[in-house]
Amino acid sequence: MKVGHAAWAFATPALLVIGVFFFVPVLAALIVSLTDFDLYALADIRNLRFVGLDNYWHLLHTPDFWRAVANTGYFVAVGVPLSLAASLASALLVNSRLTYFTAFFRTVFFAPVVTTLVAVAVVWRYLLHTRYGLLNYALAHIGIHPINWLGDPHWALPAIIVFAVWKNFGYNMVIFVAALQSIPADLYEAARLDGASLWQEFGRITLPMLRPTLLLVSILTVAGYFQLFAEPYVMTQGGPLQSTVSVLYFMYEEGFKWWNLGSASAVAFLLFLMILAVTALQLRLTRDAETS
């Protein structure tokens, strides 16, 4: 009985914070998304009207919103596979039994992960500069003309993807390395005795044994990549020609530039639904692959 009281006393402060500053706002967001909350309502709450699903309906008929969805989809669809491939490749290299200085390489690959996104985005904006950027300078040596990376609607998002992969690959690498180390060594020994090539070892042992980790990591990474915001905010300000406006960037402008908080809340929920849908799809595909 006494323990029960103490338990509540211990758990309550954290539960209060999480409840008041997370659960209540999430529910409130759902309600606000069904109203026309705007600058007038912000000034006087009596101007607030319940509008049902109007915000959602309007968004689905707003080309700029679809543009943001398409941009974010592109960023996720290209960025996540690239990011996972880079993580897995670097994990395999770091984890090889032939590698010297494993700890050194692991730390170096992880360093970009802990850096402040805004700061390194500023650095990359400079690296990608059309005239003085080192990337164009390097490309000039192999005969490629200068590309206006962040100023060309075709190149801005790919450039941001490369930056994001550079920034993030070390995170999943650490998880892959741990998973690789948990694969029993005798599996590889048996394969070697049977004369399997490195490539066969990878395809028949490593990849199947990594499957649960791959699923988990891809779900987490997809959720993370859907939340693209600071990169376009710092590097391109959504431009050129809206080509780097992400869903969150759209929500930010809708909410805090135009003060359409009702509509912005609807954007937030649609983003949440998109993440849920893609996660469900990933789980489904994995299960199908396992049963077949």
């Binding site: 103490a6 954290a14 032939l98 802990v114 850096t115 300078y137 908080l261 809340s265 937030a268």
Partner: protein, 273 residues
């Protein structure tokens, strides 16, 4: 392929990847010591002709960056301390103390991990406005005082504390508070360091929420100040790089010194039991 050949190939690839990972950071450092305009040349210089601290002097002098550095430090430290306290109390209670509603609450918290934090952001802003906390440090610190991830991280680790240890203390007549302070906290030390590093880095690097809720320039954190600076001073590459160095260096040093703990946090967070 011979073992030596494989080794050479392997290390060539590793060194190449390491160069890609480190180059932007090293170049940032190098350019930050260049004189104004020096980096806007073609081909871009790799090292400063005459190293200078002028950019750093200008940042601390005209741009008031000392203020933002202090703001960032203070916010990250406060958030870390308070969240360690709240999360360790709750994490321990969920792991080791029986109380009614424990299991259902845990299930709800676990399910809520899928909700992106940005969903809560707009009403949270309205709430802060209503409480009169917009443009105060409290608006940044208070919502971050406890988090589902933190509670679970501590709980996971606290499960390994032997029950006999706690029972023995209870039989000796120790109060629950006493047990927490003298038995539980010392046992949780490693995971608290992990959570502390996580929280500090998260708070230091956080961008979207402080951007929304701190609009008064005197309250800016380093990332916000740097983002605004970079929108105003686009051609000032050398100055920007110095600002980036000041923003990145503290967290990089913190990570390098507590790397082991940080990596354990990632592994525990990704292998939920």
């Amino acid at each position: 392929m011979s073992t030596t050949g494989a080794r050479v190939l392997l290390h060539t690839l590793l060194l190449g990847a390491a160069a890609i990972a480190l180059f932007p950071l090293l170049w940032m450092l190098s350019v930050s010591f260049m004189a104004g305009g020096e980096a806007s040349a073609f081909p871009p210089p790799l090292l400063p002709g005459h190293g200078t601290l002028a950019n750093y002097r200008q940042l601390f002098g005209q741009q008031n960056i000392g203020r933002y550095l202090t703001n960032s430090l203070w916010l990250a430290a406060m958030t870390t301390l308070l969240s360690l306290l709240f999360n360790s109390l709750a994490g321990y209670a969920f792991a080791k103390l029986r109380f009614r509603g424990r299991e259902p609450i845990l299930k709800v918290l676990l399910a809520a991990l899928v909700i992106p934090s940005q969903v809560a952001m707009l009403p949270l802003f309205l709430m802060m406005k209503w409480l009169g906390l917009v443009n105060t440090y409290a608006a940044v610190v208070v919502p971050a005082m406890a988090g589902i991830f933190g509670v679970f991280l501590v709980r996971q680790y606290a499960l390994t504390i032997p029950d006999e240890l706690l029972e023995a203390a209870r039989i000796d007549g120790a109060s629950e508070a006493r047990i927490f302070v003298s038995i539980v906290l010392p046992a949780l030390r490693p995971i608290l360091v992990t959570l502390g590093v996580f929280t500090f880095l998260g708070s230091w690097n956080d961008f979207m929420w402080p951007l929304i809720v701190l609009t008064d320039q005197d309250l800016y954190t380093l990332p916000i100040a740097l983002a605004q600076l970079s929108r105003e001073h686009v051609p000032d590459n050398e100055l920007m790089m110095a600002g980036a160095v000041l923003t990145v260096l503290p967290v990089l040093v913190l990570f390098l010194s507590l790397q082991r703990y940080y990596i354990r946090g990632i592994l525990m967070g990704s292998v939920k039991g």
